[in-house]
């Protein structure tokens, strides 16, 4: 069953087109991530789903019902805002109860709901405090509690963790994921943090300039990014984009890589699908972890410019085809700057892009 379907939704503010034809389909119980850089229209899309803003064109369906003309309160949704949006003069209990009260839920039932939510989020001791007396993390919790008070068909989270410090953010991320496992409610979650996107989502929609660049599972988006933007946006450190000529050597299509005086030919897997591009310039995308140490002395002899130990891995910086390339190696394999390492890209995972259109080829 479709929990949420967005069909060719557009949004204009005056003459500026903020959303340019968005199409998204989410099944019941799925966790959808909307990710993209600041200002790309994520909050606008979220507000359209919630009914706080009306689309200039297109349709929004919630639970297989078209809701374009349905008021926010009748859409059976709950939303958590980036700024938490707690009611400042009410204490936590009243904050949670407000929505229930507006809907005419009897007092006794309200108390039960508050007790359930407080237990679920471990905030019994906060119930009588005002928002001003809470820490950022506690406010975040209350905002979630307010959303959980009802059993909506759809949860909307607009960057709920972006105001928290790094440690708390990781904790709350895990908690949200557990919550989703427990409740199995459909969630739409906005973030501009690609790690949050990868760890939480069943589906990811990568947005830029009001257009969905790619919509798919986290693994799809990671392995086969649709274009240069998605490839660069998802993954940290980001994918290396190496400009190269596509050449055919003895019937095998591949790219030639050069580092300093050393050069090598890296053949591509299933290379016939790139046949049309032979002789042309392409961009080869190789993620930092897709480099291996060539123990046999093969591969490309690269001079190390810089190393960044992260603990589990060491990021090695070198120069290939005139651009800086990062390779993620086991600390045991890394060498100090100035020395030479023989690196070999895993061409079975490499992706190629057309430098003109920036779209993935093959």
């Amino acid at each position: 069953m479709g929990a949420l379907a967005i069909k060719n939704v557009t949004k204009r503010f005056g003459d500026t087109h903020i959303l340019k034809g968005i199409d998204i389909h989410v099944d019941s119980g799925e966790f959808l991530i909307l990710v993209g850089p600041s200002g790309c229209g994520k909050s606008t899309l979220m507000n359209i789903i919630a009914g706080l803003e009306s689309p200039s064109g297109g349709e929004v369906h919630i639970a297989d019902r078209i809701v374009n003309d349905v008021a926010p309160k009748d859409r059976d949704i709950a939303m958590v805002f980036q700024s938490y949006a707690l009611y400042p003069t009410m204490n936590v209990r009243q904050n949670i109860a407000f929505g229930l009260e507006t809907r005419g839920v009897p007092k006794k039932e309200q108390d039960e709901v508050i007790a359930r939510v407080a237990k679920m989020l471990q905030m019994d001791h906060l119930l009588d405090r005002k928002p001003g007396q809470l820490s950022g993390g506690q406010r975040q919790r209350v905002a979630m509690g307010r959303a959980l008070a009802r059993n909506p068909k759809l949860f909307l989270f607009d960057e709920p963790l972006s105001n928290l410090d790094a440690k708390l953010r990781v904790e709350m991320r895990t908690e949200i994921k557990q919550l989703h496992h427990r409740l199995k409610t459909t969630i739409v979650y906005v973030t501009h943090d690609q790690i949050e996107a990868m760890t939480l989502g069943d589906k990811i929609a990568v947005m830029k300039d009001g257009v969905i660049q790619q919509f798919g599972s986290p693994q799809q988006i990671y392995d086969t990014p649709a274009n240069l933007f998605v490839a660069g946006f998802i993954g940290s450190p980001s994918m290396n984009f190496i400009p190269a000529h596509l050449a055919s050597e003895g019937g095998v299509i591949g790219v030639s890589l050069q580092s300093g005086d050393a050069a090598c030919f890296a053949p591509l897997l299933d290379s016939q699908r790139y046949a049309a591009y032979v002789g042309k310039r392409v961009i080869v995308g190789v993620r930092p972890e897709q480099w291996d140490l060539a123990a046999d002395g093969g591969g490309l002899a690269c001079k190390i410019n810089l190393t960044e130990p992260t603990g589990p891995d060491t990021i090695v910086f070198t120069q290939i085809n005139g651009i800086e390339v990062q390779a993620r190696l086991h600390p045991r394999d890394a060498r100090s700057p100035g020395s030479v390492l023989h690196l070999r890209p895993d061409m079975s995972k490499a992706v190629l892009f057309d430098p003109e259109t920036e779209i993935r080829i093959g």
């Binding site: 706080l52 709950a78 805002f81 009611y87 009410m90 929505g99």
Partner: protein, 299 residues
């Protein structure tokens, strides 16, 4: 500590300079504010008439004051004026602020238009409204000229109604100011709070009533303070609009005091009424100052 190692003359300048700079204004305030308050207090216990004299009569002036019908009319009027003026200016100002907060076009222009009356002195306001409400010149004459012969609006010259004309003019003058204060407060409310309440199912009036206006409490209190002290010391508006008349039906304590002290040669009585006003203002302002000062010390 570095303070102890400073040269002595530096400490001297640092110690005395601020006091020296503040001394003239301090002296002026001491004499012309507190000195005259004290002098006025002293006069209220004397039998001063046209000019001050020091024939002590104890509380006789206060007894005369409390026996004076005109004083009680003034107090009663102040009560009517205070309640209606504060309530009216507050209500009109808040409604205007809420309407302007709906992100309408031409907001800047409208804000200026509503705020403009504040730029006029109460004398101008009073005179203009005096013309408009004058049955022979203003609204009533206009309606008659248009053919509505039965129309009558004679509040300005009706002793039972004259105080309400002052209320109308006062509200007109001050509600734009109240609006500006509240609009600034409303603009400080996070937009997503309103969105959250909409999703929670609250109607717009309910959102304002339950969430936004309660958050305006500090603005509410400052506005109340400002309006209350405008109400108590209201003088020029009455003088320009009704002159306290017809008869003394629209007198306020301030006009009563002025009449007694400066035109009717009852300076002792005027001084006593001034003391009563001082006590009233203090009753309003002192608790407010106290709570404000205490809060700023704790922050």
């Amino acid at each position: 500590m570095s303070v102890t190692s400073r040269p002595a003359h530096y400490g001297f300048a640092e110690h005395w300079l601020p006091r020296l700079v503040l001394a003239p204004s301090f002296l002026l305030v001491l004499v012309f504010l507190y000195g005259f308050i004290a002098w006025n207090g002293a006069l209220s216990f004397t039998a001063s008439r046209l000019l001050p004299n020091y024939e002590w009569v104890g509380l006789a002036q206060y007894e005369a004051l409390f026996a004076s019908e005109r004083w009680w009319v003034a107090v009663h009027n102040l009560f009517i004026f205070g309640v209606l003026f504060i309530g009216g200016a507050m209500a009109v100002g808040i409604v205007l602020a809420i309407l302007l907060d709906q992100k309408i076009r031409l907001e800047g222009a409208l804000r200026t238009i509503y705020l403009y009356p504040l730029a006029l002195s109460f004398i101008v306001t009073g005179t203009a409204w005096g013309w408009m409400l004058n049955p022979g010149l203003g609204l009533e004459k206009l309606m008659h000229d248009w053919g509505y012969a039965g129309f009558s609006f004679d509040w300005l010259v009706n002793p039972d109604r004259s105080i309400y004309t002052i209320v109308i003019a006062g509200i007109w003058q001050s509600s734009g100011f109240v609006m500006a204060l509240f609009l600034a407060g409303l603009r400080g409310i996070d937009d997503s709070i309103i969105k959250a309440a909409q999703i929670d199912g609250a109607s717009l009036p309910r959102i304002y009533w339950r969430i936004i206006l309660p958050a305006m409490r500090p603005v509410f209190f400052s506005t109340l303070m400002i309006l209350a002290h405008i109400a108590i010391k209201s003088f020029d508006l009455v003088m320009a609009l009704t002159g306290g008349g017809p008869g003394f039906s629209s007198d306020l304590p301030a006009t009563f005091m002025y009449q007694m002290a400066f035109t009717r040669g009852q300076m002792g009585l005027g001084a006593a009424s001034a003391m009563m006003m001082l006590v009233t203002v203090s009753a309003v302002v002192v608790p407010y100052l106290y709570s404000e000062l205490r809060r700023s010390r704790h922050v």
